[in-house]
Amino acid sequence: MSAVTDIRDYPWTTLLAAILPARLTALLPKRFQAAPSQIVPSASIAGNALTVVIAIMTFLACLTAGGVYMINQSAQAWVDDIASEITVELDPINAPDIEKKMTLVSLFLAKQRGITRVKPLTADDSAKLLEPWLGSTAALSALPIPRLIAVEIDRSSPPDIELIKTALTQNFEGVTLDDHRRWQAEIRSITRSAALGGIAVLGLVAAATIAAIISATRSAMASNREIIEVLHFVGANERFISGEFERHFLGLGVRAGLMGAIAAAVAFLLLPFAMYLLGGGVVTEAETRRLLGSGELDIGGYLLCAVVVVVVAGLCMITSRLGVFRVLKSYA
């Protein structure tokens, strides 16, 4: 068995030559350049239009994946937040001494195992919670606003919520406990909807990319038919021929994918500035943060964009391979 004596014999140098533009490859040291000329010339494969289309598809895929990721992160933070708290509500009607009842219920809750903090909200605090809907009006003080007790629970050893609920009902009249399950379920439902929407968009982007690659593969095969015939004559099998084409499409996919992903990363970085430029102020920023958490992509989000690039490049390669096999079958 002959040993590899020349660095040009390594397949990755050929791949490097496929990924980098020809002008850039020419600047590399000679040992890093693929030795033989390309059997299927790059120029005959696809023009800049396909690169731009795939870059745009990758950009959209990264924006979608990053957006869904941010919403998911934010929703998870909400769920974690509200899952560590329960709210006890005291009906003010038929409760002549509501402050005393607040104290008694708070003391009762504080004694329960698994509860780390009990915070009774004042009447003003409760009224403030209604201000977004009713406005800041003096009439609020005249309304029988339910009194609330915020209870933090120990998530490592949570209390038996059902037991506390039963005990509260038995010992205190007009006291109810909300463990926020309905909200958690709704947040999860929103997150799932966003994820499904994102998957649908990614599916459409993938389908459009596949269609573009299939079309480009067919036209590349048609314009290189003479080369394919010669390769057949010299004994090349279908795998070799498809390899000559898929290498180009892999390189194209990596180049275009990186362009799209970098553009998406820049878009995520500029998102907060874009809001200011569009006239958004502190309130817009706060609302965005409420929806998207920090409004910035973390390292996990950027890794997701990198995965999108790998998937796009793989999609280009596999689609072109299958396209070549299909066309070769039709030639046969």
Partner: protein, 220 residues
């Protein structure tokens, strides 16, 4: 090595180009394939090379029934055959050297293993100073020699050549014939399709004569 049994060929619904063609090519043999223009020489070569399927009859190449072979099986057999086309079929974006090295590259051999062989062969066919030239600047004769070099570089077991001396002067033609004879001595079976009786007269080899789609074998 090659066996044709009652092979017939027609294109579409046209008349039969080849009718009841039956012959054997033994290992190490040398044949001329001749006949008037349009007699079906190129079609017969294409059948030998498995780039056409017969409309009837059986073809065995290296003992394999071509009809039963999968596509990649045919590719494996083609690696054992060298072919020279009348229209050369050189790739214009590759240099002469790269065109000649193509069969070895397709076989997966390393450039460092075959570089010297390719250069030596190009020198032998008189293209030593055209190694880095692209086909579009080569003359017809030079292209012919490059195509022949490409066909023989992989030491094929069977060499098929369609009018290999049609574009070269007699001196180069004789030199190329010597190359074919030398290959034949080394064990390669050779079939040369030609109109050139002067070329055929230089060698005592059986002639496969195509007339009206039928094959007659004559021995000088």
């Amino acid at each position: 090595m090659i066996r044709f049994d009652n092979v017939g060929l027609r294109y579409g619904s046209g008349p039969e180009i080849l009718r009841d063609v039956t012959f054997h090519v033994l290992p190490g043999s040398f044949h001329f394939l001749t006949g008037p223009s349009g007699a079906g020489k190129t079609s017969l070569l294409r059948l030998l090379f498995m780039s056409l399927r017969p409309t009837r009859g059986l073809i065995f190449v290296f003992g394999e029934n071509v009809a039963d072979l999968p596509r990649n099986g045919r590719a494996a057999l083609r690696r054992r055959i060298g072919i020279v086309f009348q229209d050369f079929r050189l790739l214009d974006h590759l240099t002469t050297w790269e065109n000649v090295a193509l069969p070895l590259r397709v076989m997966g051999r390393r450039e460092s293993d075959y570089a010297e062989d390719v250069t030596d062969l190009l020198r032998w066919v008189g293209l030593g100073d055209r190694i880095n030239a692209y086909p579009e600047i080569l003359s017809g004769g030079e292209k012919q020699r490059a195509a022949i070099a490409r066909a023989v570089i992989g030491r094929p077991e069977l060499l098929l050549a369609d009018e290999p001396t049609g574009n070269v002067d007699p001196a180069i033609g004789n030199r190329l014939l010597r190359l074919f004879v030398e290959l034949n001595r080394l064990g390669t079976s050779v079939i040369i399709a030609t109109h050139d009786y002067a070329l055929m007269d230089q060698l005592e080899a059986p002639r496969l004569m195509l007339l009206d789609g039928q094959l007659q074998v004559s021995t000088p």
